[in-house]
Amino acid sequence: MTQSLGAKSTTPISAQVQRYQWWLFLAVLLLLWAVLRFVPWDAFTFPEAWNLHLREPIDAFRYWVIGNRNTHWMFVYFFDPLSDIIDQSIRGVENFLLWLPWPLSVLSVTLLGHKLGGWKVALLAGFSLLAMGLLGLWEESMQTLAIIVISVLIALLLGIPLGIWAARNDRVDATLRPLLDAMQTMPAFVYLIPVLLFFGIARVPATIATVIYALPPAIRLTNLGIRHVPYETVEAARAFGATPRQVLFRVQIPLAMPTIMAGVNQTIMMALGIVVIAALIGAGGLGREVLVGLQRLRVGQAFAAGLAIVFMAIMLDRLSHALTEVDVSQRRSQKYGRGRWDDVKDRFPLFVRRYAYLLLLALLIIVTFAVHWFITDLQTFPDSWHIPIEAPIDTGVRWMRDNLYNIGNTGVGTGPFSDFLTIYVLTPLRNLFTIWVPWPVVILAMAGIATAAGGWRLGVATAVGVLFMGLLSMWIQSMDTASQVIVAVALAIIIAVPLGILSAESNAFQAALRPVLDFIQTIPPFVYLVPVIMLFNVGRVPGIIASVLYALPPAVRLTDLGIRSVDKETIEAARAFGSTPRQILFKVKLPLAMPSIMMGVNQTVMMVLAMVIIAGLVGGGGLGLEAVIGLAKTQTGRGVEAGIAIVIMAMILDRMTQAWAKKWQVVEQH
């Protein structure tokens, strides 16, 4: 009785605190800021004396590695043989691809496309491969393809068995899950540094980094696919006395195949995405072309290589995507109807019909090699076929720079936009974090936001994480990167959410938007930078524009999906009460779509961070630049410090946005 009375009397006060907690928090921050301003201690620069000095031991370790590379057992018996095997396989594949007469490659890819997905896939894949040659990049493309083939093979050989194991054993799943989360949260850039240390510069570390990056989807989707096989189907197999092996190979794996193949598709696309970045550590091929083009501002060269990458992406995506369409659980007998070509097909003997593809392939091999040996060289892609797009692109860029940069000197154009963003948004925000506000206040503010999103545990973890960035002597760089991420995320969401809403409200708009989003998603992130630099010059802005583009598709799609999956009956109910379309959107659809939209925000944040880091290459500064320096020069320690700071930032941002997303989910349930 007394307890309930006591509780009653305190309720108004706690409610008051609740209502004004944000103002209170702001007041505390301001107070702290005022105090720190007038104390003799300099609270505006992170104390240099607190530096953990991580880079010295790391550099020492690096020198030890260099000194002992040829003698220590770890290298002699483990890293070197492994490195040799991988190097030899890549070389083998590369030599094979370059040895094949190019028409044979193009035509067999076409044939494969037809077998997997019909004429559309066949033509798209065949043309994409041909286009790489037409761009004058046949050899570089085959080098890149060789690395992708080997990395994807390794990733699948590791990933699929691990995925199966995780699906059958909950403990393995529970152990792998956080590991995979961390792997996927980390921007790819970060892997490169330690890999470099153990495998030296060349294609091998590039392959290893690619494998690490591309592994998670293979494991995850195999696991998911097997676990999603209807329980009763598995039970039925068991009930008839199937052994666990029989259940796995005859029921679970066949039914999980579409999902496993989606994993293969994602693995391939991720491998392609990073193989370009891996050019930084000597992967060669197309990535190197892009990189050199970017560094020397030869936009034409970078663009041609970027285009070749896009073609490779299209080819690999369509071929591997066709695999996911083969869903055995949707099988139908072929009793109904006959195709247009069935009458023609029936004229051939059964043997020919059954082995049509193999016979065609054999025919192709014989013909192309006959032509190659007796008529003309088919191994090197003919120079005369090269369509030189570099020069017109360079001209075009010059034209754009002259004409779009500042249209008619009106102060409108990409140049002034870039300047505006830099001077009025980016720089003030960075200054806010690094100069105007003392660092303890920054940490407290971030901890406060994290607490609001995900409770005090996350708040404390965030505070420790942000402090740690300072201790790594990466305070200024981290705040620089953070300011860019904030601006890019804000821009991306401002653009993506309305697009998503429009797309959900109009089928025509969705249909028009789909190919654009597909295209953006197929392009490896690195390549965005090329056209963006043309328009926005080097600096922080192109990185931000590229990030916004890169993060757009998932944010738009998740908003669209969220709104479209709102229960029809709920919307009907709102209509029945006489709501206007606008009211339905804002009072019903958007609130219910919020969990999905928040997932889009989470993905946006993570993708933007990854891209902002990559943009360090083109003058984005911040942690990305530090990582690049660590990679390109011999300052491994500095690179590792930046890498750790990036990982911390990625983790904090991921947890914070996920916690926020979860809050909305709770709202939805009520």
């Binding site: 909950d170 799943d173 676990r227 999603h228 096989v229 209807p230 329980y231 009763e232 189907t233 598995v234 039970e235 039925a236 197999a237 068991r238 009930a239 008839f240 006395g241 199937a242 052994t243 029989q246 029921v251 066949p254 039914l255 055995v328 659980s329 949707q330 099988r331 139908r332 007998s333 009793k335």
Partner: protein, 324 residues
């Protein structure tokens, strides 16, 4: 939500996480050739019960004896042998393999026994004919209607010629009309198969229609066990009583249950003779036609009781009469 255990039934999750006891203190005996029905609403533990019998779920305590052999003590190989030869199961959502043709679904149990293809197809075609699906073997399950899919499920279970058949709510995913058709089909099949059947259902009418012996479950425990007629006429508590209220008595109560002992002045030879297991529903037309009492005689033709019209009418109205 990133669900950890997709596809598990609620009972499975509860059982796996160990938080809720799904079934306790349930003990019964099924005789050879008998149809034993377990009836209960969702969450009553009936699905877990049948999974304990087949060890698709391992019970934490108890005993399951099949022909005197302890199923729970069996190792994996013995258990598989048991599943391959002695028992088979029909599932609620059919549990068919969508990636295999109908014939390969039906032949599955034979395939895992490593019986050669010709032989198992022969048997599968035989069984398909029994369930009325001859000619459908080359189709995939996705091309068939729900009722046909469950016929495939039934054929798959029959193909291995098991001694015991387990049915886990096999007809509850079907439309009412198809459901009734399947029930009649099962009764027809069972008439000459004479298999031992354990049948799970949440439908009381289905239960009394099929059962030789019936157990009603609630919250993991059996509240009443007995023949359909016995349960309807003597519900153990209000819970059971509520189910029985919807039951048309005329289709369950038999002449044997309402008859009175014959008396010297009955002149039973004048009366039409009926079997003690004839239901009231079937007595009515006879009684109407002959305008007299009915004599109840057993298989041997011995007079064992008399049903007069008043008793019949009262019984039809659901009132208790005589010894019933």
């Amino acid at each position: 939500m990133d669900s950890l255990e997709p596809g598990w039934t609620k009972a499975d999750v509860l059982e796996q996480t160990g938080h809720v006891v799904a079934v306790k203190d349930v003990s019964f005996e099924v005789k050879e050739g008998e149809t034993f029905v377990v009836m209960g609403l969702s969450g009553s533990g009936k699905s877990t019960l049948v999974r304990c019998l087949t060890r698709l779920t391992d019970p934490t305590a108890g005993q399951v004896l099949m022909d005197g052999e302890d199923v729970l003590a069996m190792n994996d190989a013995e258990l598989r042998a048991l599943r391959r030869r002695k028992m088979s199961m029909v599932f609620q959502h059919f549990g068919l393999f969508p990636h295999r043709k109908v014939i390969d679904n039906v032949a599955y149990g034979l395939e895992v026994q490593k019986i050669d293809k010709k032989q198992r197809y022969e048997r599968a075609n035989e069984v398909l004919e029994i369930v009325g699906l001859s000619g459908w073997g080359d189709y995939y399950p996705g091309e068939l209607s729900g009722g046909m899919q469950q016929r495939v499920g039934l054929a798959r279970a029959l193909a291995v010629d098991p001694e015991i058949l387990f049915f886990d709510e096999p007809f509850s995913a079907l439309d009412p009309l198809i459901r009734r058709e399947m029930q009649d089909e099962l009764i027809r099949l069972q008439e000459h198969m004479q298999k031992t059947i354990v049948f799970i259902t949440h439908d009381f009418l289905e239960a009394i229609k099929l059962a030789d012996y019936l157990a009603i479950m609630k919250d993991g425990e059996v509240v009443q066990m007995g023949t359909s007629q016995n349960i309807i006429l003597h519900p153990a508590d209000d819970y059971v009583q509520e189910f029985t209220e919807d039951v048309p008595h005329s289709r369950v109560v038999t002449a044997g249950a309402i008859m009175r002992p014959p008396q010297p002045d009955d002149e039973p030879e004048q009366f039409p003779a009926v079997h003690p297991e004839t239901t009231l529903h079937d007595l009515v037309p006879i009684a109407a036609e002959y305008d007299a009492r009915l004599s109840v005689r057993n298989e041997g033709g011995d007079l064992i009781g008399i049903v007069d019209r008043r008793t019949l009418m009262l019984a039809l109205a659901g009132q208790k009469v005589n010894g019933s």
